[in-house]
Amino acid sequence: MTTYWTRYRGVPLAVRAVVVAAGLALLVLPGALHPVPFLITLAGLAAAVAWPRTVGVTVLSAGFVIAWLAAGGWAHSLPVARTVPAAAALYVAHVSSALAAAAPLGARVERPALLRWLRGCLWPVLGAALVVAVDLALPRRTGAAALEVAGLAGVLLLGAAAVWAVRRRVAG
């Protein structure tokens, strides 16, 4: 029996599910819940999932930035354990929304296209997990927040450089 749902394919739905997951992470990660940015983020998320070729992800990002500023105040940076996952979630939301714009709900998506997108999403998530793990594993936090972020960014860059070198060797 042909139903409304059978017109939809698993992979395009999964891509939108990843957008939803990233959007929910962006809703939660600022910590403090302020109604206005929360609603803006939620509206942006809904638009990004339902109409990925519109400004949905822009509204989602704007709502998140307002929520982030409202949570930390003008002068205080939020901790690394929130910042890095939020950066990864923001990146994944943008990349996945771009793929959702390319993959209509009823489309069949070939495996190479899917793998390319997964690779694009996976390394920032793994990098963020690594950074958060390092941050949590440190015995005590010292120095200014700027120094801390710069050090962790350095770790991240080193990891990315290692991955790049390995990929070049494999490709060669």
Binding site: V11, A75, A98, A101
Partner: protein, 428 residues
């Protein structure tokens, strides 16, 4: 300059977000904001550098240029992509009267030289159509840039399925000396009429030597002359009633009529007769009578070009005059659902102009869609009564109207017509 990439809304979203975060981080001395925007900035820079030059080229072709009804083939989109292309979104719309079991959209990874995307298609009914239309969106920079092209596919012929049709060797009107029908006249031919004593003028190759040796006198094998016939098929394409108002218009009166015409044409052409066609629809088209296998292709070609947007012709057509001009003494097979007052009158007019006419009723089992007692049902019952009355009127005028039922459907009517044609006639 061959660069044709256009920035997508994702590019503006990412650039705007990264810009606001980086500016905010600098202005507010907030390194966390810079950390939030950094991945987006890196992503943008890398992808902008990766987008190459070139143009998107798309070509849509079918695996076959001619199909039979219900036959399947592949619509192949060959796509040459610019450098840096990541993904391709391929949207395919099958041509008219084609169906595709595949989803209309496909997302594929671009290959360096040429990307081939295939869609299955099935021919639903006879038509002259195209394989379809394909629209390709190429994405570069993981969706940050795009360009789009579309391509119309090659023309495609869908031939009607020709039911194997058999009819006895009974054509009421025959002419010529080369066909496959037997005559009653002795003469040069292939069918044996008997053995008779040799007469002056007989060809030596006709001498029947076994009989001559046995009897001691020369005998020859006598034959009857061979005859061929001209059959003109007149197709009424002004009406198309479809059961259940099926949008594919399968099994409708016009569909039945085209199948009947194709089967009749194939049968008589295989028998060596000359066959012609008149498409009596909104626009009249004529295929002059001729014989041979190639002529069958011409007739089928004309049949698949029948105008399916049915309608009434504005200028009157004197069909009887046309028939008398292009095929005098032809046997006329009028294929019509007999739903208009003018059709029975047309059959009578053709018969009066000296042609032998057989009406093939293409109405079939059509029934109105409405429930019993509804306005539609009532209207259809009135129409059916009129149709049946028209069939009776034709019978009174000596014109047989036979319902199309495929093989053997016309046998009885043709035998009766042959007998009537052979009977002595009174001249007034």
């Amino acid at each position: 300059m061959t660069v044709a990439w256009r920035p997508s809304i994702a590019l503006f979203a990412a650039a705007g977000t990264a810009g606001v975060l980086l500016f905010g981080g600098v202005a507010l001395h907030r390194p966390d904001l810079i950390a939030l925007g950094a991945p987006l900035l890196v992503w943008l820079l890398v992808q902008v550098a990766r987008a190459g030059e070139g143009q998107l080229r798309v070509r849509l072709r079918g695996a076959a240029a001619t199909l039979l009804e219900d036959q399947g083939t592949l619509a192949r989109a060959r796509i040459a992509t610019p450098a840096g292309t990541d993904l391709l979104t391929v949207s395919y719309v099958p041509g008219e009267w084609l169906g595709s079991p595949d989803p209309p959209d496909a997302v594929v990874a671009a290959r360096p030289d040429e990307t081939l995307v295939e869609f299955e298609v099935t021919a639903r009914r006879w038509a002259r159509t195209s394989i379809g239309l394909v629209q390709v969106t190429a994405w570069a920079g993981q969706g940050l840039f795009w360009q789009e092209r579309d391509s119309t596919g090659q023309p495609l012929k869908i031939l009607p399925y020709r039911e194997r049709f058999s009819v006895g060797d009974a054509l009421p009107v025959t002419t010529g000396l080369v066909g496959a029908h037997r005559s009653r006249r002795p003469g040069e031919g292939t069918d044996l009429a008997g053995v008779r004593p040799f007469q002056v003028g007989d060809r030596l190759k006709r001498i029947n030597w076994p009989v001559s040796l046995r009897t001691g006198a020369l005998h020859v094998s006598a034959t009857v002359t061979d005859l061929d016939a001209t059959v003109m098929i007149v197709l009424d394409s002004s009406t198309d009633l479809v059961p259940g108002d099926d949008p594919a218009r399968l099994g409708g009166t016009l569909d039945t009529a085209v199948h009947a015409a194709a089967a009749l044409a194939e049968h008589y052409l295989r028998a060596g007769d000359r066959v012609g066609l008149i498409d009596d629809g909104p626009a009249t088209r004529t295929v002059l009578p001729a014989a041979g296998r190639a002529h069958l292709d011409r007739i089928v070609d004309a049949l698949i070009g029948v105008n399916t947007t049915t309608g009434r012709r504005t200028a009157p057509l004197h069909l009887a005059n046309l028939l008398s001009r292009i095929a005098p003494r032809a046997m006329v097979i009028l294929i019509t659902p007999l739903l208009e007052q003018a059709r029975p009158e047309l059959a009578v007019e053709i018969a009066r102009s000296g042609h032998t006419v057989l009406v093939v009723d293409s109405l079939g089992d059509y029934a109105a869609n409405g429930p019993p007692g509804s306005t539609a049902d009532l209207a259809w019952r009135l129409q059916k009564l009129q149709h049946d009355a028209d069939v009776d009127r034709l019978a009174d005028a000596g014109i047989a109207a036979v319902r199309w039922q495929g093989s053997g459907a016309l046998n009885t009517a043709l035998v009766r017509l042959s007998r009537a044609a052979a009977a002595p006639r009174l001249r007034r």
